[in-house]
Amino acid sequence: MFSPWFIVFVSAAYLAVLFVIASYGDKRAREGRQLINHPLIYTLSMAVYCTSWTFYGSVGLASQSGIAFLPIYLGPTLAALLFPFVLHKILRIAKTYSITSIADFLAARYGKSTVLGGVATLVAMIAGIPYIALQLKALSASADLMLGLDNGGGLAPFGVDTALIIAITMAIFSILFGTRHIDATETHQGMVLAVAFESIIKLTAFIAVGVFVTFYLYDGLASITAATRAAGHGDLLLMPEGWQYLDWFLMVLLAASVIFVLPRQFHVAVIENVDEAHLKTATWAFPTYLLLINIFVIPIALAGRLGGIEDSDLIVLFLPLDADAPWLALMVYIGGLSAATAMIIVTSVALSTMISNDLVMPVLLRVEALQLTRRTHLSRLVIYIRRASILLLLLLAYVFFHAIGAGYGLVSIGLIAFAAVAQLVPALILGIFWRDANLVGALSGITAGISVWGLTLIVPALAATRVVDPAILVHGFFGIELLRPEALFGLSGLQPVSHALFWSIAANILLLVAGSLVFQQDNLQRLQALLFVNIFEREGTTRIWRGDTKVAELFDLLVRFVGREPAERVMVLDAITRGRPLEMAARADADFVQLVERHVARAIGAASARAMVASVVRGEVIGPDDILEILDEASQVIEYSHQLEERSRALEEAGAELERINERLRQLDRMKDDFLATVSHELRTPLTSIRSFSEILIDNPDLPVDERQEFLGILVRESERLTRLINNVLDLSKIESGSMDWVVSDVDLDEVIDQAIGATRGMASELSAVVERGAKAAGPALVRGDYDRLVQVVVNLLGNAFKFTPPGEGRVRVGVAADGADWVVTVDDNGPGVGPQHRAQIFEKFFQANESLKDRPKGTGLGLAICHQIVDHFGGEIWVEGGDLGGARFAFRLPALVEEERQAAE
């Protein structure tokens, strides 16, 4: 064995090495070379998660309960898979708004609330003190063992308790590490480097002892498990006794969630992060570290159990000592020392920042008597507060260790701390994803959660040490059985920590959500919520400033909180971004005010910084109300422009519609003009002949009678033609304008045909054309229609046919036949027929397919158009095709009147 002095020397030497590494890191950082700017260093610094709990406690727990230690590492593995979603957002927010701690983050999110910052700090302290006590316990126990003192902490050679010496040493060490500089705002790059170094040491030491146990003391994993089974400890390889699968799940959940809120994790993962991209590597590398450091836990634990080591938390150290491997034992001791010191340093730095920024400074700044707002050199005060807090934390942890902790295993203490700090998780996670989460909800949730935690975990602990009447465990609070601390509302059978976690988190979330739904956010809260939740959308916030504060005043404020030199650095950086230095006498603009507030926030937290800047700034301060108003205005403008866009789209559509209608009107107008021109032309022809023959008759009163008769005959014919034309035009315009008076009745098409043939007999005999009666319907061929008009249609068609038949040999055949549900009337002739190219146009007004005729036809050019209109009106169809008699066949169809319809009509 080594002499005690050697152990003390080695311990001191190790701490000295750490210090050198940290100083080196700080020095390089000041020179502008960030040694920690590497994803693996970032990951290793995250491994500050693995403390004495992992190094000594896991094995201790595993030797009693098998894999019960594992959820604590599987949880963070799950959480790591969420890093790119959750931690990335937290990181971006924290960087954008110069957040200094988890408490500061929560305070800033919920309207820069000093109260919430204070409450969160208290919760973190409540969790942190037992956690540090756990490290002290492991450190003092391992040191006692190495120093050869009685296990359980006797008196050290100095005549004082080892744990107290360690606590004080750690306090001094942490103060030197974390609060060396007067400047309170600098990040601790050296510390991060040292922590990463320690992560390597503890992993190496643990793997070394694992390999030693597994492959030197035993012949590999198989032989250990075989020996374990042989010794009757096979149950260590199963789900731990007394554990339900719900316990397992809740433990995984607990460990997964606290990774985001543990003060030391938040500090290394968020505050000290130098590049967001490092998260990508950490997502898989951090779980890898956890896996590596846990691989040998079970073999070591089994070996310890088989070796009959009583103090299970020290198995890692006992195994090499018992196997007479003192150097390996020394290595393990150093590994344990590194695990504990890393945790203590980072936790105490993080917690002391929270205590100074979110607990002490807000109070001090409010105490008028101190006149702190007028004092210079506040940065020095901040540093002293932090140093005092570190000392206080370590001493409180020491007291806790002696009062309660000595009776608990390392893991049990750690889990109690986990369950406490987990109360910050709902407010954090909902806070960054749910805009409506508000201060009332967060405060009541955290308060209720930590209260339930105290009632379900701390009360039983106090009952065990008889501080509280143990009867309460049996009879419940106020003698109500349902309120038994370890089986709240009758929920029993769970492990104490999962039981407490379930109820405390349930109460926490319930109140957070309910409070957020019931109560309103004030404007500052709304603004902060908006900025946090939409951090990725809102890269630059609206910055408007109408104040008339001088740059010099804000600069003085900066100097008081961060010191002159860093303040001047800020000015230089500002000048670089601006491209010109700010005049001290000039008015500060919004950018500069925000810059100052951000830097002051890094020293004393967001809530206090806001108050301090507000105390300096005069004139018209743009408060959150105004910013919200401006945002509202902006959104209104956007709304208006949306409306305008919609309206202009509607107008465009209406315009296009109008354009279409206009085009149609123009077309109709053109048609009307054409029509008028054609009608005028058609009128002029008979008028011209009437006039010229009338003139002849007037000028030659002594014309022979024959000639006179002939001319008068022409006058009569032309007048008739004129009348016909005018009648047709009137008919057509009546039909087209819809002012035609239709006399609708049931019409038998056979009758119509007979009537038409009768009416055209004169014309037929004049042209010596023969009219044949074609197909006839068996019964009456009934349709709904206007009898006279339908007769007019057939007359027109017949007249048309006569005109085109060869003189003297004309043959026309008229028939009616059923076609489906229609009656079809056909008029065939033996004329020249209608070429297919004209068949579509032939029913248009004034269309005359006259190129095939030698003479102008005698018609008005409106007959077929009128037929078309009439048939159309009664829902029918008219067309022309090749006929049986070698000429054209004009046909029209009308819907047949069904018997029932007829009766219904009657």
Binding site: A80, G234, L238, Y245, W248, W284, P287
Partner: protein
Amino acid sequence: MIEGRRRNYLFAILILALLLFNAPLVIVMDEIGGGGFLPAYLFIGWAVVILLAALTMQGRTKR
């Protein structure tokens, strides 16, 4: 931070890990072959999850 495809993969791995590390799979593994297999199962599952995450995060972006 990571583009759509990787986000989806990572989510899928998260779901896989949740399934692997919890009941009912843990119950099955706890009782398989007369017991004693659970620790090995957990560690192997753990390694697989990490491997998948590493491939997802470090792999080259597919075009």
